[in-house]
């Protein structure tokens, strides 16, 4: 057996072990999500209720209350993890993520506007947020058509847009009725409350639509990482590949944000965890999706049940945990142009 075959099988084994481990953890968290809550269920009851067996209350609680929320957390977490991984790999910048790039900010402005000015609720707010996030993404793409400088421009332009968005949100909140302002604030924080199956379906659809983009990205990202000249020499069109990646990443981030609000840091933290576990290459993309799902679900469970009597929006939990992590990343990054 050649040295290469041995190396490749080792790498693949490591990726497989990691994926299985993450999946097991995720399954555990999902089960926990079905069990925890004021309405007590045993694991046995919960699993039977999942299949429609048991008392009507049991079945209702599991399939219409807890499962949608858990499913939304898993799908959104996966979408955010994948989106962050795409941005970070493409920009060769461990700090890129939809929130720092202002995409979440754009979605936030639109959603707050829809809530406090137009008086929309539910799906209409989500629709507005989607349009807002896409608008910012279009501006960013226009500003940094040449993305070959490690995304330096993209990141800084995004930071500028994020601040403009926060000024606009402040203005809208000041103008609003207090109760509108309050529901807007809850939305901005990012939360998985009041979930039905509808948003789960939308995020699932977005993931399905993005699948070809993800497969393409898994192939082109390792080549792009070698630099534009080498990538061209290997027969890749860097500009086209980048646009496909950005569009996929933006779609994932915006679809998610529209449903659950701009939950911070999942997109930022999941990819480096995945890289640490499985190294470079396409395996890291899949692992980032799994890690994102695990992080968001765990954070939501912690927010709901860690403090007795106080339900904390998931966005507060991810922010409070993620910010120190990001700062640690910044303080220890070595000579990287980040």
């Amino acid at each position: 057996m050649s040295a290469l075959v041995a190396i490749r099988s080792r790498t693949r084994a490591r990726a497989a072990v990691t994926a299985v481990a993450l999946a097991v953890l995720l399954a555990g968290a999902i089960l926990l999500g079905l069990l925890l809550g004021d309405y007590r269920l045993t694991a046995d009851e919960a699993l039977r209720a999942l299949l429609g067996i048991g008392s009507r209350v049991d079945v209702y609680i599991v399939t219409q209350v807890r499962l949608p929320r858990v499913a939304l957390a898993v799908l959104c977490g996966a979408a955010l993890g994948l989106s962050g991984s795409l941005f970070q790999s493409m920009l060769a910048n461990p700090l890129a993520s939809p929130d720092l790039l202002g995409i979440s900010g754009g979605a936030g402005v639109a959603a707050v506007w829809a809530t406090v000015v137009m008086g929309y609720t539910g799906a209409a707010v989500a629709g507005a947020a989607f349009v807002g996030g896409m608008t910012v993404a279009a501006i960013l793409l226009g500003v940094s058509r040449r993305l070959s400088d490690g995304g330096y421009r993209l990141v800084l332009a995004g930071v500028g847009i994020a601040y403009l968005c926060s000024a606009l949100v402040g203005y809208l909140l000041k103008r609003a009725q207090l109760n509108d302002a309050q529901s807007a604030i809850v939305w901005i924080t990012g939360s998985l409350g009041a979930t039905s199956w509808m948003p789960v379906g939308i995020v699932g659809l977005a993931l399905a639509v993005c699948l070809p983009g993800l497969i393409g990205a898994a192939r082109s990202l390792p080549i792009l990482a070698l630099g534009d000249p080498v990538a061209r020499g290997l027969g890749l069109a860097p500009a086209t590949a980048r646009i496909a990646i950005v569009v996929t990443a933006v779609l994932l981030a915006t679809a998610t944000t529209a449903q659950i609000g701009p939950v911070g840091f999942v997109a930022l933290c999941a990819p480096p965890i995945a890289r640490a576990l499985v190294g470079h290459g396409s395996a890291a993309l899949a692992a980032a999706g799994l890690a994102g799902a695990l992080i968001l679900l765990t954070a939501d469970l912690a927010g709901q049940y860690a403090l007795p009597g106080l339900s904390v929006p998931v966005g507060v939990v991810t922010g409070a945990v993620g910010a120190p992590y990001l700062l640690w990343l910044l303080a220890t990054s070595k000579g990287r142009r980040a």
Binding site: L95, L100, L156, V159, L173, G264, A323, L326, R336, A338
Partner: protein
């Protein structure tokens, strides 16, 4: 440019800036839902009549907001210039470096824990929060082998902002009273504050400006690189520390009286640099009138564009500042400082 012509140019810019500031201040006192003649303004200043509604508007609303605009704009512009020199970073802006989030969180703490409701009482907390956040961002952003690189500082600021914001959100989503008080403070407005707070922070800003002007010469040496500055016999650490103190005094005060404002400290130093060249003493000096012009001008503009309502100065500045930031980013080469 020889030192002589540079100084001459600086003096011209400074003079023109002060003149424009005077005009802007005058406009700020005159323009509004109730337009007021210059004569009446003068009258109100010289023989105030508490029964005259015009006099009351001038003395209790227009003059305080103008004074606050001048003070905050001046302080932010000088702080921005210092920060750009300190970090050799064209994107350094007090607002981009976590100051606002720090001030906001401190104010929220004051509202929820101490039950304060009057904006005048927020000054100390805003100041403290802003100062702590700025020091933290700078310290973390300069850690690591490559020091305080532009993007790293900007992102450290973003991270500190996001972390503090998430804590603020925890308070806001669970406490309606806090949200109601906070949302009016947070929007970066020159109204709703009285002259007493302005006089309160004026000496602090004055001290900050003096310190900034003294330290600016050292920044000229730092611009050549730490090693070169040391080779020229300069104490890099002392300059950094003094500059940081000046920045904290300046932007802490500004945020305390005017609420969180971004972009003033970013844009003005660039304008100043285009006008007077790369000498930090002149950039900081020219920024003093220009910062006031921008903020007071934005405030006046906010009264005009939305008349008879008003748009907050902070919002107008953000709308002017975001395109300015874009154009900086879009320049082919990063601005070298």
């Amino acid at each position: 440019m020889s030192p002589g012509t540079r100084a001459a140019r600086g003096i011209v810019v400074l003079g023109a800036g002060l003149l424009t500031l005077t005009v802007a201040a005058l406009l700020s006192v005159m323009v509004g839902t109730r337009p007021i003649d210059p004569g009446i303004v003068l009258d109100a200043l010289l023989h105030a009549d508490p029964q005259n509604p015009d006099h009351l508007v001038v003395l209790t609303q227009r003059i305080p907001r103008t004074v606050i605009g001048v003070l905050a704009g001046t302080a932010l512009a000088a702080a921005g210039g210092m920060m750009q020199g300190l970090t050799r970073n064209p994107l350094a802006d007090p607002g981009l470096l976590g100051v606002n989030a720090g001030a906001s969180f401190a104010v929220l703490t004051a509202i929820t824990v101490l039950g304060l409701t009057q904006p005048s009482a927020f000054v100390w907390f805003a100041f403290l929060g802003a100062a702590l956040a700025a020091v933290a961002v700078y310290a973390i952003g300069s850690a690591g082998r490559d020091g305080a690189t532009p993007a790293k500082l900007a992102l450290t600021g973003a991270a500190v902002t996001a972390g503090l914001t998430s804590l603020s959100m925890l308070v806001l989503t669970t406490n309606t009273t806090a949200l109601n008080t906070y949302r009016f403070w947070s929007v970066g407005s020159l109204t709703g504050r009285g002259l007493s707070e302005a006089w309160f922070v004026a000496p602090v800003i004055g001290a900050g400006l003096v310190l900034a002007l003294i330290t600016a010469a050292g920044l000229n040496l730092l611009a050549l690189g730490d090693d070169t500055a040391r080779g020229l016999g300069h104490s890099v650490r002392r300059t950094r520390t003094l500059a940081m103190i000046a920045i904290v005094l300046l932007c802490g005060s500004a945020t305390a009286i005017a609420g969180p404002l971004v972009f003033v400290g970013l844009v003005v130093p660039h304008v100043a640099r285009a006008l007077v060249g790369t000498d930090y003493r002149w950039i900081v000096a020219a920024g003093i009138p220009l910062g006031g012009v921008l903020l007071v001008g934005a405030d006046v503009l906010g009264r005009v564009v939305a008349a008879p309502a008003e748009l907050e100065a902070g919002l107008i500045v953000a709308f002017l500042g975001a395109p300015a930031l874009m154009s900086l980013v879009l320049r082919r080469r990063p601005v070298s400082l």
